[in-house]
Symmetry: C2
């Protein structure tokens, strides 16, 4: 047994696990390429140990032991990441936040709930709902992910157009830095006290510290929830309607526009063929919901929108988190993934066309489609889905080709390569194109300042140095 | 003439100014203590030169020359800062953003306007208004400040409760780092591509780089603007009404609650004596404004609010940026300042009481009052005003004592010491109490990584190292 494991045992006792099944379960997240390699029998190497500290002091202790021993540390939350943010190479200690669990405090007057970073997203949401609140953050992974993981990956939720993304919902956080020191940002509604230090951890993907606690600024459970749907002749006219109502200040929490392919695949019972479905869910005080329903409908119909039975929205609400596992598809020889990008409104239609056209050139391509699901005053995202059935030996290559084509076409169209899910390993070769060589150099400087030996989740986020 | 000035001249020619009046005009911002020292004849030393680059390349050139010569650089925007963010000690080069001026691009479809960092705030707002938009950011300093300065100080605007603060309005920015390299963040509506690098510069107060360009995500000019006002028997009942409507999702852009003293001082024509005035301005689509007026009024009246003539809101709108200059008051022997702090709702009433009680113990105190002017789901700010007429020799000491008392009472009540205006020099001794020793160490690491010789605005933001 490695020296570092003994040292961790001496400090953390039972919190240090080395059972084979535990090591095995913490080798990776649910990145498609990891699934594929496992299926092909090329299981990646196991970590040295899995440490499950019960508190912040335990996390600090673990980081200090590993730093002294110069052993890399990979933080593991829910394991639901899809971009290769967790993937062991054989010499690491995995730090699981599993036991940093549960509600630490809830203040109903301030609408603030504080959770251990390892708390499951859905457990957190249900907990605040019992007190009449909602976090309002509904990533598709909510039943798998931890609140710390949602912060570390700058997660986007399905209700983001009205409620914002995770960075808009976090009041304060606690993180242990690579040297074992603890940062707890002040629980204040807003500050001008230097750069906002929460933002270093929102999107840090385990490279700058370990998030140990997260406080959310809550909303009351909505008085009313109402769906409505429209169909448009094409993506462009749907996007134009969305742009108009969002810029006018109408921001239903859920705004989703599907291309003709996805509308046909998922909403054939409601949406006429070859049309684009726009699905809206309005929430809030009853009178506000009524007004917003009406005004948004008027703007849609003033465009080229025609009403669709709102049952399509109920259908989505019920089924939104049911997706086939990657493994089911891989076993059929199909590689599949989703890729989220974003751009200002003007760039979105051409970006959509060029990404789809580029994906359609891939050998064995079955599906190349997209929907928009997170809108802003300045633009929106596109959530591409691709599926291909290549020669069995070419599955990984085809997967990488689809990613490369999507990243390159997005950048050529002036888009941003990562609306959500993060950079991980799958996007890191394009990070310099996203944030510039200057941005990479800046991020590298910050990383080196905090983690000079590159021990926290090495190989993730930053591209390899030249 | 200093060697560095010659070197700057060789590279930047006429952009390097050393006329006495120019040097004199760039010694400091409008921090009260600087005004007082000037008045008392203790004018601080002048900088070596003022450089006014015409473009980003010129800024980079200036920073590189100064870095090689190890000469400190103080960035100067509009000079309207009130916390001592600009103050020369005699050996610095001042970098003025004055010529980084004007609109670079405006996209009416995306609602995005890009400005040189030296553009005056009101000029920027008027420019977008000509195109039917508003930035929606109305700090009291709007006629003096530059857009780059508003970003560098994490400025809050008077319409923030509905529209957010400067960090919610910036789409992307360009900054020159201390080594002369250029960062331009991607103009994308949202990204999960590592930590949000804009956030390092929002609040950096000139210590991490020079902001050269700022793009704002705009709103259309509102269809309707309507004010309404209420009076409450005390601050607590007014705060409670505000909390209820903001948490319910009603967020008028302007929400201001004055204590009984300020209500009497500023609104005696409308507000009954010894009552607290709540002043609201609603904006947006006509129907939304009508609904919000009604629903917010109902929540105010369900509390202890009673209506006040809405003319009080018009009065505020017209006079909101007319304030006596510090100098007028100093010449009368009065020291005065405003101090903005914030806290979660539960902490605000006690925070108010204890700050006021502590200020009232100061010798010669004339005024110790506050209003709330920026609200959030989790809490609000308090904007304290103090004025005192001490023995003439004790003006500076009294000023510092008022600050010390406000900072200490705020921290003791669990508040954050800086809602806006920044840290500068006046708050830096309390930064560790605000963000913790861990936060200061983290910020210091980042600073050292980017600016190892501490050349960018030294003496600001970070407390002196032990």
């Amino acid at each position: 047994m490695s020296d570092v494991v003994e040292k961790l045992r001496a400090r953390l006792g039972e919190a240090v696990r080395a059972d084979e099944d535990v090591l095995d379960a913490h080798r990776r997240d649910t990145w498609m390429l990891g699934e594929l390699e496992d299926l092909q029998g090329a299981d990646g190497p196991r970590p040295l140990a899995v440490v499950e500290p019960a508190d912040t002091a335990g996390v600090a202790e673990a980081l200090r032991v590993c730093r002294t021993a110069r052993v890399p540390v990979v933080t593991y939350g829910g394991g639901s990441g899809v971009v290769g943010g967790v993937r062991t190479g054989g010499g690491e200690v995995v730090l699981s936040t599993r036991r940093l669990d549960g509600l630490a405090a809830l203040d109903p007057n301030d609408g603030v709930a504080r959770f251990g970073a390892g708390t499951n997203g859905m457990v957190a949401e249900r907990t605040v709902q019992e007190h009449g609140f909602t976090i309002g953050h509904w990533p598709q992974s909510i039943e798998l992910a931890t609140v710390g993981g949602l912060v570390a990956t700058r997660s986007a939720g399905q209700f983001s157009t009205g409620y914002g993304n995770v960075e808009d919902l976090v009041l304060d956080l606690e993180a242990v830095l690579p040297d074992g020191s603890v940062l707890h940002t002040r629980p204040t509604p807003r500050a001008s006290a230097g750069p906002d230090l929460r933002q270093l951890f929102l999107g840090s993907e385990g490279t700058l510290g370990v998030i140990t606690q997260v406080a959310f600024s809550l909303r009351p459970l909505p008085e009313a929830t109402r769906g409505q749907c429209f169909h448009f002749p094409d993506l462009g006219s749907g996007l134009d309607a969305m742009r108009r109502f969002v810029q006018a200040g109408w921001t239903p929490p859920v705004v989703r526009l599907y291309d003709t392919k996805e509308s046909g695949r998922q909403f054939a019972d409601w949406c006429p063929q070859d049309r684009c479905l726009l699905l809206l869910i309005h929430e809030g005080p009853g009178a506000a919901v009524e007004l917003q329903l009406r005004e948004v409908a008027a703007l849609c119909e003033a465009g080229k929108g025609a009403p669709v039975d709102a049952a399509a929205a109920d259908h989505w609400l019920e089924n939104r988190n049911h997706v086939p596992t990657f493994r089911e598809l891989l076993e059929k020889g199909i590689v599949v993934d989703t890729i989220e990008v974003a751009a200002t409104w003007s760039r979105i239609p051409a970006l959509y066309e060029s990404v789809v056209a580029s994906l359609e050139e891939v050998e064995g391509i079955l599906v190349a489609s997209a929907h928009s699901s997170h809108s802003y005053r300045s633009g929106t995202n596109l959530y591409f889905t691709f599926a291909a059935r290549p020669e069995p030996a070419r599955m990984a290559d085809t997967y990488r080709e689809c990613w490369r084509r999507t990243m390159e076409a997005t950048l050529a169209a002036g888009g941003g390569i990562a609306h959500h899910h993060g950079i991980g390993r799958v996007r890191r070769d394009w990070l310099a194109a996203e944030i510039g060589e200057g941005g990479v150099a800046l991020l590298r400087s910050v990383k080196r300042a905090l983690d000079p030996d590159d021990l926290l989740n090495p190989g993730v986020l930053l591209p390899d140095a030249d």
